[in-house]
């Protein structure tokens, strides 16, 4: 891919894909964090 050996292509493109997936999962599993914010406002 792009004139690169397979291992290098994995390094260049594989890690970004991994971090995109990590970020999406993070966004999904932390949906309830908004309760923190709303509650803190109420408490103040």
């Amino acid at each position: 891919m792009f004139g690169l050996p397979i291992a290098t292509a994995l390094l260049v493109f594989g890690f970004p894909v991994f971090w995109i997936l990590y970020t999406i999962v993070f966004l999904i599993v932390t949906r309830d964090w908004v309760k923190d914010s709303a509650a803190a406002d109420d408490a103040q």
């Binding site: 291992a7 890690f15 971090w19 995109i20 990590y22 993070f26 966004l27 932390t30 309760k35 923190d36």
Partner: protein, 524 residues
Amino acid sequence: MSYTVIFFLVLYYVVVIGIGYWALRRGSGDSLEDYLLGGRQVGPLTTALTLQSTSMSGYMFLGAGGLGYLQGYWALWFAAGDIGGGVLNMSIIGRRMRKMSQMMGALTSIEYLEKRYPSPAVRLVAGLLTVFLLGFYVVAQLIAGGKGMALVTGIPYPAALAIAVGIILIYTFMGGYLAVAYTDFFQSLIMLVGVMWIMIASLTELGGLTAANNAIGEIDPTLLSVWGRGLGFEGQWGVVAGALLIFSVGYMGWPHVVTRHMAMSQPATARKAGVWATVWNLFFVPAPYLVGILAILILPNLDDPEMAIFQVADKLLPAAVTGLVMAAIMAAIMSTADSLLLQTGSIASRDLYERFINPNASEKQMVFVSRGLVLAIAVIGYAVALVEPPSVFSIVIFATSVLGSAFLPAYVCAVWWSKANTPGALASIVVGASVAFIWQYAGLVDSTQLHPMLTGVVSSSVTMFVVSLATQKISPVPEYVLDAMQVTTTVGPIPGRFLTATEFGLTQEAAAIDKALDGDASDG
């Protein structure tokens, strides 16, 4: 000397100072909390971009480009970890540290450590170590700024250095954290546009990525491998692991970076900030390394590899665009240097001066002392950068490896492991810093093929676990800390007793900690 380049630089400086002035008008210097944390009112996008631009220093335009030029695609191991550094930070400690720091009333990342691990020794050791290492790190930024400006504008190095330092000081003095955060926001955008422009220009010049890679392969096929020029790093997984760790999990041990968590407007700000950090990193992080690699073809006989990106910009771009790229490079340098100066001044004044020398200092006095120390550090940094400028790459790798090794377990365990106690944290900080330092300077990297960051983090983590478990009976974690940790773990409101506690002044808080150490502590 190109007057067009200078025009763009002056324009950039005017805008940055204007933003600093605007932050001043917002009243960011009224209290110590406003000055140090922007009144804890920073939103997700600004949090993400100040986190990233602070982390991405002049190293990205000098060290990263130089590494790509020397080692080819091996350099991308550093970028591979770096892309996820922001979201890792936000997902692991962002929300919890924001919440915990507010409950404990901590205003600096070192004060936070003392309140989580109650002991003046923690603050003293962590404060001294941080001031020393961040001071070192500042010098690297000043050198990068001076060298870059001198090359592109033709201004002599000492004068270029003085201009860069002067501008940083002006807007750091203006509004403290808020000025730094908002100027970082602007600078991160300039950095992104600048680096993308130079990368696209380089690819266009070489006929695209595939053509460029084929041409590099004809010069030396090992430059396309993941093991570096001449396969010099082949099989050295310890070095690779260190390269991945240093800018990914390493962020979580940098006191000047984790302060960003404490300044967020809400704990949940970490969520969107993590997403913005990934988006920005995906575009920005690999580009300087790639430009360095492409410079192998564009400038095959470069004397100083660290100047690869500057030289490529100078060669390929018209003067106006070079001015923009130059502004981007200065933005990377200045956005890190201002944060480093502010944090070094804050830690030296609040965590060392007020805590151990003048406990009765007023908030106005503290701001004054912090600004005075920023000035002193900038002057000393200027002198060092002028007299004996070492390699930017080596300073940054040294400072960030030692910082990450020393503080990573302390910050992570502070919110995730209730058995992490004071002796464990203190031993972890000392052992982590010592191992990373010794590994680097005793030449153990070559003989063991292990990166100092890897050995440093592993040893500090093991020390944290072993010492904490071994000393649970003689040094249990105080009940009020466990209570705060429990609230931090739970997604929900901060109890009123903790919000009231943040109204305490520093002296009262310090006294409470001392009282707790004497065994008289009660909840909250």
